[in-house]
Subunit: 349 residues, 2 copies
DNA sequence: AGTTACATTTGGATCGTTCTAATCCGGTAA
DNA sequence: TTACCGGATTAGAACGATCCAAATGTAACT
């Protein structure tokens, strides 16, 4: 029984081998289910493995075999439900493939990103999934990651040019098309004065969404006033604070395409404080379709990006890359889907 | 320059040693900043390390030193914001201590929990932080984890008795006291007929919260009717569906202590459908203080559990355990804090 | 010159596994 | 008898680091 087993040292192949009078090599063969070993000895060895409570030392095995069974996942912030769902999808798919997820959070700091990547690399992951911090530069990432271990960029571009020799894949959301869909939807509802609210222009996803908005507006022959572009941090609180700026210009908008759901929810609060009912007196759309979007005072029209599925997809892409290390690097753009809810009302007559 | 470095093989200590005419051992000393090595040779070696783009192989080092620099974090579901915040806190603290987080998700399935634990253990974590799946049994966890690697239980009890010889620590939330606070608050507001709504009685956290509710009621000399205890799955949807059951008994409650915030938000929806305005016609409290609690139609009175801080605390506890492997096992109960918002109105006259 | 002291450096064993190239053995063919 | 075969097993060298004891070189002191 387990209580007979010495508690001091880890059980190794040698212990098992000694315990049933075979060689280390034979035990190793048993462990890996080789057909070479005799049925009888296999049974004896398996019994001994159970008896001593052996646990496989994958680190030692991987060292010898010069392989790795882990993937590093580096994100800005797990507390963001978008990334949390993404991480859940990644882990789920990796686990199914026998890989283990090494987690790292950067908190939007390029410096911490460097540190985290460095630390994770020492554990020898087979690949990396990275959602870069805001001002992270391609050159810096390259200098710490090197060209040996494959990298998948998710969600954001890196500053500076991507090194063409490195096989870095990309998984991006169709930000521009999504924002265009939202804008077209508001236009179809009858709006003519539409603002773009929230986000910072130095974020690539924000730039792309803004481009989609401009594209839709101009295609429809509508003007975009500069004071209809309100920048703010992508948080509820900051969005609520910046609400007055929307109505400070000469021509007040009747609707806003928001950078993301958090901003949209904050804008709703801000509108309420001005006595405007979102979804009645003012129309707005979000981006991400986070859980809270469907609830709240006025259910939010938004773009679903299916973060969990993106996580699964990211994991798949990395696993494929591991099988074809020399394949050309690939850029995947995941589609987004417009979810129409009540917040995108027609303009008040 | 980096392009001169062969791309085929990983750079090892031997390569560096050969590259600057010293022994492997000396390079190793340089890496670890030993004062033994001469300033001059140190400089030469460091230059060579940079030149060849060396990355430390922690797996190999840990094998030799018989130590580990990783901690396994096993959760039900990262997509749950409570656990996501918790994980963020854990990773933050572990990273600061030089550890790396091995992630695993169980999806509330004891079978997957076994599999995930087994897989993570093969990577040799120094410790484990486990938030058990719903019906997970202590005996099963023990049989896969063994008594070698220290375990910290978070948030839930395990079924069956804890093995006393294993040094398993616990970090629990003060569920009972929290529910008692919420109930006392409602009583102080003037309510006499208070229900306990949501959750399943086979979940230990639900039992504890219910116990706190009963305790407060009885201490105040109030009765608890059996039909004031409505069980349902801890989701918004199921809570909304079970709302009518609250009013099916002889004496209708004027307030409800909810199992958690998700349930409370679902109950709000259900109340709305009955034409009752939560926070006006009916009072309710939640548990967890998730982000949505402060927003919504009627901001929710709830208990803040500070999940990120819990994560930091969990990591601290494990790190302490690593330093004192033989210390007596410890049970920590984290305090919770009542956050009074508008949902806990006085009863209608 | 011989001894001691000190600062540096190093060879070789080691961690727990896998891999390669033997080896062993009973049976069969030449 | 010898050679050979195929199935089962194994010794021993890896993998990339660390650790220990021992070696080296230099300077200082009898």
């Amino acid at each position: 029984m387990p209580s007979q087993i010495p508690i001091g040292r880890k059980v190794t192949l040698n212990d098992i081998a000694a315990g049933c009078d075979v060689s280390r090599a034979t035990v190793s063969l048993v462990l890996r289910g080789s057909p070479l070993v005799n049925k009888l000895t296999r049974a004896r060895v398996e019994e001994e493995l159970r008896r001593q409570g052996y646990v496989y030392n994958r680190a030692a095995a991987n060292l010898r075999r010069r392989i790795s069974t882990s993937i590093a996942l580096v994100l800005n912030d797990l507390a963001n439900p978008f990334f949390a769902e993404f991480a859940a999808g990644v882990d789920e798919t990796l686990a199914a493939a026998g890989f283990v997820t090494l987690l790292g959070c950067t908190g939007e700091s390029p410096a911490r990103e460097q540190a985290v990547l460095g630390s994770l690399l020492e554990h020898g992951p087979a690949g990396i999934i990275l959602s870069p911090a805001e001002h992270s530069k391609a050159h810096d990432v390259l200098s710490v990651v090197g060209r040996r271990v494959p990298l998948l960029l998710f969600n954001r571009e890196l500053g500076g040019a991507l090194p063409e020799f490195a096989h870095w894949d990309q998984l991006m959301l169709d930000n521009q098309h999504g924002a265009r869909l939202a804008t077209e939807h508001l236009i179809a509802r009858g709006h003519r004065h539409i603002a773009f609210f929230g986000g910072h222009h130095d974020s690539s996803s924000c730039r792309h969404r803004h481009a989609g908005y401009v594209e839709a507006m101009h295609t429809a022959g509508l003007r975009t006033e500069p004071y209809w572009r309100i920048e703010c941090a992508p948080t509820r609180l900051d969005a609520a604070h910046h609400t007055p700026a929307l109505f400070a210009g000469a021509l007040a908008p009747t609707a806003a395409v928001c950078y993301n759901d958090a901003v949209a929810l904050g804008l709703m609060l801000g509108l309420n404080q001005r006595g405007l009912r979102p979804g009645r007196d003012f129309a707005l759309t979000g981006f991400d379709d986070i859980a809270e979007a469907a609830l709240g005072m006025s259910p939010l029209t938004t773009l679903s990006v299916a973060p969990r599925e993106r996580g699964q997809q990211a994991a798949q892409l990395v696993l494929q890359r591991l099988q074809h290390p020399l394949a050309a690097s690939r850029r995947t753009v995941a589609p987004v889907q417009l979810i129409v809810r009540e917040s995108s009302c027609p303009p008040v007559a």
